[in-house]
């Protein structure tokens, strides 16, 4: 599992790759909350390279969404991989999150 956070103007992009599971989701949670705590007014979670995500990974995304709402910031998912999309669907969260096809779409 790899996490990279980059910034584009006032948007923080947290890119995840690999398996997000009970072992690795605490780091994902930390990275998302850190990005939301920084000066940026929007945070995007780029899930293009996510090969697997479980309920603990989904919980990190939900927590980030909540925190963003509380702080009046934008939080969205970007380039959601098939593997991740399936789990969001099963968890009935595919309509709860804003999902963009690409970082360009999300920023445009």
């Amino acid at each position: 599992m790899n996490i990279t956070t980059t910034t584009r103007d006032t948007t923080a992009i947290v890119s995840l790759s690999g398996d997000v599971d009970l072992e690795t989701s605490p780091q994902v949670r930390k990275a998302l909350l850190a990005a939301l705590g920084s000066g940026s007014d929007a945070v995007l979670a780029d899930l293009a390279e996510v090969t697997y995500i479980d309920s603990s990974g989904v919980a990190s995304l939900v927590e980030a969404l909540q925190k963003a709402r509380g702080a009046g910031k934008r939080f969205a998912l970007v380039a959601v991989s098939d593997a991740a999309h399936r789990v969001l669907e099963l968890a009935r969260l595919d309509r709860v999150f804003t999902i963009h096809a690409s970082v360009e779409d999300a920023c445009g």
């Binding site: 398996d19 599971d21 919980a59 968890a91």
Partner: protein, 142 residues
Amino acid sequence: MSEALIRVQTRAVAERLRLLRSLVRETAASAGLGDDGVRDVVLAVDEACQNVVRHAYAQAQSERPLELEVLSDAGSLTFVLRDAGRAVDLDAIRPGPPDALRPGGRGLYLIRQVMDRVEHRPGPGGTGNELRLSKLIPREAR
């Protein structure tokens, strides 16, 4: 007649889940569940195993056995998960779709969504749980 394909024993810790997933993936793929079926079964068994990691034992407990057995018959694949924690009544936990804005509480829901049969038996004498998760194998793959 069902055949035991494999039985695996390990410690219920987060660091073993990846290995268990790869084992589930391999058995599900050779049983003829297509890509989508394999992916769903991997998720369900991982969620069940992670419940053992998180709920079956006190955090400080170092003995934390987890056993996973894979049974196969002509029409289905069954994953039997055993822990030696406090016996619980999982059938009593039947939430609908979890609250969109609560982070946790999605594991059992995902398991029940994805598997064709979910059976839980509390162990005798208040100790241990056995969870049996079955998935039907598409007729054309048998």
